[in-house]
Amino acid sequence: MANRRQTTEKAMRAMFFVITTASIAILFLIMFFLFKEGLPIFKTVSVKDFIFGKYWYPTSDPADFGIFPLIVASVAVTVVSGAISVPLGVMTAIYLSEIAKPKVGEIVKPVVELLAALPSVVIGFFGMVLVAPFLQQVFGIPTGLNLFNASLMLAFMSIPTICSISEDAIHSVPNALREASAALGATQLQTIVRVVVPASLSGISTAVILGLSRAVGETMVVLMVAGGAAMLPGSLFDPVRPMPASIAAEMAEAPVGGEHYYALFATGIVLFVFTLLFNIVADFIAHRYAQVGDATL
């Protein structure tokens, strides 16, 4: 009897091990494929010219493979969308967990999380048919499909992530700290700013970075509303072409094994490095400023 149980135990362990190994192996294979298909472009273009080249004309003859405008576009939409989504997301989280009556929080939080379920194509569609004409009219610009519109739509996509994870982090700050602060004569605002937010800073940072990394990698929205011009933006209202949009738009037209094809995969590598950096930073912050005791996220 005991023996059979031990055998089952061993079999279960082996099974879990195999499944884990398989999922990780597949991810590594994808990564390997990404590099295998991307690196050959550097036979034609130097790494420096590829990353800092200002011209992206992959189908001209001779072709230009400079993705600097695409990188700038990706960074710009991420920064601008972060400038919108971080304050809104974090402050919403603070309101929901610290200020709002519990009933309000119970209703609003699921609604915010529901926003995360909106398919990105729907958000892109909304930006295209509603926000774009509006921007065009109000600001008198040639096209409403631009950096600002894309940032706004990306912000809507990241707010639920930022808000929901921040709220969890803030919520997990032990009540004893709030009471200690209040007992010393701190107002509620002082308690929030000086105790609650610092105590949950690692969780909030993780939330911000996860939200932003969602914006960096998001494809459909930027494909639909960023405008698609592969040039360095001069203002908030210039059309741009972030990396994911470029890959998605051109992949179907790039002949397999051609330079354009390799260049798109190489763009994928750059994008991968970006999101990887985001995740490493998130991980670092989560450990470096780990919440201690009851407050652990």
Binding site: A176, A180, R194, P198
Partner: protein, 253 residues
């Protein structure tokens, strides 16, 4: 004329939702005395303590009726600034609850939120408070280290120092030694002895020997009612009420 009593409660009722936790509690606290509140779990002594600095305001479904005064003024009057009140009536909690900040910042926190920015003054007050709480010698070389690295007993003395730093007039202590070992407990009790020269102290305790050791006056609570209050010696040797006698002799609770 100085009021004879530092704090008082008159006909105080307290409700948690539909549950009436305190019934008509009237008690008076003289300045520079230690009052111990004793009674079995759930008798309302902690609830009562938290009424004295309006800590229960943080519980949304709670309701207070009756009067609590500090220097003769009703602390539940609508004009009262609760933050100001809590600066005068400090509190030490059952479980040590230092902020996840440095030792120095923990003690300085109460000064900062009171708008005191003068760095030299803050440093002086931090040192003074840590000395008062008998923890200065243990932490003076590591004021910038996190307070969470201290032992439980040290954390509790730090929390006392933190409460003292804002120079309260009354210090409320909610079973401050219940989570500590006997040696740390002894230190806290010695501390209370020294603090009563300056402060009015009201302490909730489960431990009757502790109440007998540290307090001048003892109040016995049972089922949300104040059963008996009097000199600690009298309460422990010649209680007037049968319930008090039963409790202190260990026949129930």
């Amino acid at each position: 004329m100085e009021p004879e009593y530092k704090m008082s409660s008159e006909n105080l009722d307290f409700h948690y939702g539909d549950f009436k936790a305190l019934h008509n509690v009237s008690i008076y606290f003289k300045p520079c005395e230690v009052t111990a509140l004793i009674g079995p779990s759930g008798c309302g002594k902690s609830t009562f303590l938290r009424c004295l600095n309006r800590m229960n305001d943080l519980i949304p479904i709670s309701r207070v009726a009756g009067k609590v005064t500090l220097d003769g003024d009703d602390i539940y009057a609508s004009a009262v600034d609760v933050a100001m009140l809590r600066r005068k009536v400090g509190m030490v909690f059952q479980k040590p609850n230092p902020f996840p900040k440095s030792i120095f910042d923990n003690v300085a926190y109460g000064l900062w939120v009171n708008g005191i920015k003068d760095k030299a003054f803050v440093r002086e007050r931090v040192e003074e408070s840590l000395k008062q709480a008998a923890i200065w010698d243990e932490v003076k070389d590591r004021l910038q280290d996190t307070a969470l690295g201290l032992s439980g007993g040290q954390q509790q003395r730090l929390c006392i120092a933190r409460a003292l730093a804002v120079k309260p007039e009354v210090v409320l202590m909610d079973e401050p030694a219940s989570a500590l070992d006997p040696i740390a407990t002894q230190k806290i009790e010695e501390l209370i002895h020294r603090l009563k020269e300056t402060y009015t102290i009201i302490i909730v305790t489960h431990n009757m020997q502790q109440a007998a050791r540290v307090s001048d006056v003892t109040a016995f609570f049972y089922l949300g009612k104040l059963i008996e209050v009097g000199d600690t010696d009298t309460i422990f040797t010649r209680p007037k009420k049968k319930q008090t006698e039963d409790y202190i002799t260990g026949r129930f609770g």
